[in-house]
């Protein structure tokens, strides 16, 4: 019993970081109807920003953390301006966006390999290693921090989307860009805001992810699991992305806890295929076409 609870808590913790990443996929999908595969690259850069801010520049952790978020936000917006805006301007077919996203993603990965190198790097110990003892259940401090930060960020995001004017404009643009433009909404600016939000969350998720595991140039391809979570929940739906992420996180920790950890990714990708075949809308998705 204790052990199940233990696994559940670990699952919630990693699931919450998946959620931070997954909402970025979902936000962009809801506005532009394509899966932004450059998102993984932004997450990877976020992990590196945080790493160098802490080690090289000796910044206090929280400064490095938010710094990484802001730098990643700028990168995400830059990717949008350079790789997608020109395509949007001439109504390019969907496939071009996919190719452009792949290109941006490969560029980021290889840029890091060329400049920083392919080696694995480990964050210094920021939080003391000894876990909390909650009535016999041990919760790592880092896991706790991951969970709390992620939840705060997600609540803030939902508040922004649901209760601010810009949030309503994002919802309106996701529903119908033409009608939104006719209301006086600058849909181009809304797109920038969406990439900025996704990029910031990607950056801080990258830092958390990098602290939990290690930092290396291909870390972005692992974050594809948050994409699976977003598809599982239903791309384009924020609650879907969050719920999908928690389910995936828990499923993964249970699998690696009770079976072999090698099965973990096998299960995740099988889940993706099963969803795409049997429930392409996901749990709460808005449309089924052109997801992957």
């Amino acid at each position: 019993m204790i052990q199940i609870l233990q696994q559940l808590i670990n699952g919630l913790s990693i699931g919450s970081v998946y959620a931070l990443m997954a909402v970025g996929y979902s936000l962009v999908y809801s506005i532009m109807n394509f899966s932004n595969f450059a998102h993984g690259g932004v997450i990877m850069l976020g992990a590196y920003f945080g790493f160098f801010f802490v080690t090289l520049y000796k910044m206090p952790f929280w400064v490095a953390f938010f710094g990484a978020g802001i730098c990643s936000m700028l990168v995400a917006v830059l990717v949008e301006r350079v790789a997608y805006k020109p395509l949007r301007a001439r109504n390019a077919p969907f496939l071009y966006f996919m190719i452009s996203a792949m290109g941006a993603s490969m560029f980021m990965e290889n840029f890091v390999i060329a400049t920083i190198g392919p080696t694995f790097r480990t964050y210094p110990q920021v939080f003391p290693p000894q876990p909390f003892n909650l009535r016999g259940i041990y919760v790592g401090r880092l896991d706790m921090v991951m969970f709390v930060i992620s939840c705060i960020s997600l609540v803030a995001l939902v508040y922004f989307i649901e209760f601010t004017k810009m949030g309503k404009a994002i919802q309106a643009t996701a529903f119908n860009p033409k009608a939104s433009a006719l209301m006086g909404i600058n849909t181009d600016f809304v797109t920038i805001v969406v990439f900025a939000l996704g990029g910031f969350l990607a950056g801080i998720a990258g830092v958390l992810f990098g602290m939990k595991y290690t930092v290396y140039p291909q870390i972005g391809s692992i974050t594809i699991k948050s994409f699976i979570a977003a598809v599982f929940g239903g791309l384009g739906s924020l609650p879907g992305a969050v719920i999908g992420s928690f389910i995936l996180g828990i499923l993964e920790t249970l699998v690696s806890g009770y079976m072999m950890s090698q099965y973990r990714d096998l299960i995740s990708f099988s889940l993706l295929i099963l969803i795409l075949v049997f429930k392409p809308m996901g749990l709460m998705g808005k449309s089924s076409e052109e997801k992957a």
Binding site: K178, A181, M183, G184, N186, T187
Partner: protein, 239 residues
């Protein structure tokens, strides 16, 4: 107030507007009638900045009109689009408030919201309802109300009576007159030519991307050619 000169719009190889010139004076209702595919929506979308025009000019209150949709709205021209295009996933109130997106005059917004609710009491009753659950007629009311929330000087209306029951059509045309009496100017596109001509001050007839006739709406109502092609009236041998 609005002055369009020699406007040409292309969709790829399709030449949708072939040199359209029209003008709208302050306080008028001007209607553009024409068959399906004549280019009516294209003309309104060119004004709104939704479609780009290759040649020609559009000026508003003596100055060239910007070509980006949000800047056009900022200048005081709001379009109530064909098919309503309401935000079905948001509440009625949210839809109306999005109409006021560019405004920051809290009191003015409040006043206009009351004005819209007075015009369409049905919307007030359904304030918190998801807009997608409204009936067709109510959605048209919402689309018009949402447009008015932008406090426009010029309202562009694209087929507001489309797909509505006769009673609702009556209501909508009465509202159009009410909007005029608020001092707003209206450019109305319609397939319901009889109703449009009966409501408007002046009219243009658009055929295959060209203005083929124009004049006082009353005169066009009596025009034999118009009667035959647009009003479905058989005209006997003249003279």
């Amino acid at each position: 107030m609005l002055e369009i000169k020699d406007l040409h719009v292309y969709y790829g190889g399709i030449h949708a507007l072939k040199g359209v010139s029209i003008s709208v004076e302050k306080g008028e209702i001007v209607t553009i009638i024409g068959a399906n595919g004549a280019g009516k929506s294209t003309l309104l979308n060119a004004i709104s900045g939704i479609v780009k025009y290759r040649e020609g000019s559009i000026s508003f209150k003596g100055e060239p009109l910007p070509k980006l949709p949000h800047l056009v709205v900022k200048r005081g021209i709001v379009q109530v689009p064909e098919g309503r295009l309401i935000f079905a996933n948001l509440t009625v109130k949210d839809n109306l408030m999005l109409g006021a997106y560019l405004r920051s005059d809290v009191n003015g917004i409040k006043r206009d919201l009351e004005m819209v609710y007075e015009l369409f009491p049905r919307l007030k009753e359904r304030e918190k309802q998801m807009a997608g659950t409204l009936s067709g007629g109510e959605q048209q009311m919402l689309a018009i109300g949402r447009g008015l929330m932008g406090n426009p000087e010029l309202v562009l209306m694209d087929e507001p009576s489309l797909g509505l029951a006769p009673l609702m059509v009556q209501t909508i045309f009465k509202v159009i007159k009410d909007i005029k009496s608020m001092g707003k100017t209206i450019l109305l596109v319609e397939q319901n030519a009889y109703k449009a001509l009966a409501t408007a001050d002046r009219a243009y007839v658009l055929e295959q991307g060209r203005i083929v006739k124009s004049g006082r709406a009353q005169d066009l109502l009596d025009d034999p050619g118009i009667k035959e092609s647009y009003l479905g009236v058989k005209v006997n041998n003249r003279g």
